[in-house]
Symmetry: C2
Subunit: 305 residues, 2 copies
């Protein structure tokens, strides 16, 4: 059975995401202590793939993932999952008075309002992960833990004091399943392509990069810059856009970025989690691309009209 | 011997240009009364090619040529010539007092300063062409004619009162040799490509069209709009830019314009008259284009890095 790495420990959101990302094949899930370690295990072949978080609609992107993706041997995303960020509050059976509540700082940040309203007297404590907080409640260190919905499966002797809580009910975390490069998944008509591109510190460089996409009718869904560690003033841009590398307009745009950028890394073409089909302008359709290339071939061969 | 049409009569600038444009093959030059007639003779196969003026650095472009190029069967330019605009003043031998001077209105417009200074008392009269003015001087209708330098060969019984005159000494007229479509001339590294493109009446349409060129490092040397006769608010743009359709960056840009424009007509790739080599940015070189296309092919096949 193929092994799939995830950011542990068991009972966290990333385990839940890794199950979701591997629901179409039999996989044994292996927890790792850090995203960089999980990705290293993919690169060495120790595991087939890794499920990692890339961005969170409350906390923003996950720098550890971006950095681990842009350094080292190339890896590509083959699947995407969006997990709603909803938490449970677990306690020992019979707990009446909650005087302390623990969790990972990110989780605490996303239920601050709920805690203030429902457990106003409780002391808020920091744990290493949501699952670790549950283990600590079980050991009697705290009265309650804010956890992922899956935690109850790991700690069945705890009970839910509350479930599905979140200050922002629509918040989601986005996860990717990463593998060593290979033939990308088949296009589905509702795909996303991710790249990391380095451009120099020149006037207009980013505008021109974005124009390469917009002129080909490509819809950008995310852009984020991080300074490269190599040179001051040089930035690496993480871009997500609608479409699949097999699409003519996407391949054409990637070629253009490869010419333009001092470095460009393909991070995969994969089905979008929400399955929303790409809107392709008529002038950017496969047929129009094929027709335009044929027109130039004909002109070069002296066959016009 | 192949026939080459030109805008007559004999002894004008266009005859001079047509000789220049056909100096690499034996051609019999045939004068036509109008550019449209000369181009029609190419389209029907009556003649092999036509030498026509397209623009003049004093008078601007030649609408008759642009219109005749954009309607009817496609024609393509295969050679370009730039003729300095210099005039002679011809008189009958023994003429002392010049009381009248005649020429084509365009010619008169370009020597107005010279006439005011050197023949201030002469009456200025309009003829149908510079050559016609010479014929009329020979017939005694006027005292002097402002003519092309070649006119003296047609009217050897006249003599030069002045030669090489022009108010603007650097003015030139640009001519093209047009043929029915065929394999374009070999690239020389100093080529020009001409097109006519129709874009709709939409915000940003022209900016985006120009961006398709600039993003590929293509240097525009001329742009001119003319309303199409079909629809109000719709324009046809005549564009000249450095490079040859055989160049990767030019073929790529033409494909993009074909996708974008409601109509685009290739008007030829041909050596520039001034032989100034195109400046190609490193990111737009043949090798970089080949390499970027190969990169995308490799990614699609799952072979990265």
């Amino acid at each position: 059975m193929p092994l799939v790495a995830y950011l542990g420990p068991r009972g966290t959101f990333t385990e839940q995401a890794s199950r979701c990302l591997t629901d179409d094949f039999d996989a044994e899930l292996v927890p790792f202590d850090a995203v960089s370690q999980a990705l290293r295990a993919v690169r060495t072949g120790e595991v087939l793939a890794a499920a990692v978080p890339v961005e969170n609609s409350v906390e923003g992107s996950v720098p550890a993932t971006l950095d681990a993706l842009s350094a080292g041997d190339p890896l590509v995303a083959v699947r995407e999952a969006m997990l709603p960020i909803r938490f449970d509050v677990l306690v020992r059976p019979g707990t009446r008075d909650v005087r302390s509540v623990a969790s990972h700082p990110h989780a605490l940040g996303q239920v601050r309002g709920w805690l203030a309203e429902h457990l106003p007297g409780a002391e808020v404590r920091v744990s290493g992960s949501t699952a670790a907080a549950a283990a600590e409640v079980l050991a009697g260190e705290h009265d309650a833990a804010v956890t992922a919905p899956t935690a109850i499966e790991e700690y069945p002797s705890l009970v839910r004091l509350a479930e599905g809580i979140a200050d922002l009910p629509d918040a989601v975390t986005r996860f990717l399943l990463l593998r060593r490069p290979g033939i990308p998944p088949e296009p589905t008509g509702a795909d996303r392509t991710s790249i990391a591109a380095v451009i120099g510190d020149e006037v207009g460089a980013l505008t021109e990069l974005l124009a390469e996409l917009s002129l080909r009718g490509i819809n950008l869904s995310r852009i984020e810059s991080r300074p490269t560690k190599d040179r001051l003033g040089e930035y690496r841009f993480f871009l997500d856009f609608d479409g699949h590398i097999a699409d003519a307009r996407i391949g054409d745009a990637l070629s253009a970025l490869h010419r333009r950028c001092s470095e460009v890394r393909f991070l995969g073409s994969y089905p979008k989690a929400d399955r929303s089909p790409a809107t392709v302008r008529p002038a950017a359709s496969e047929q129009v691309f094929r027709h335009s290339a044929q027109w130039v071939d004909d002109l070069r061969a002296g066959a016009i009209g």
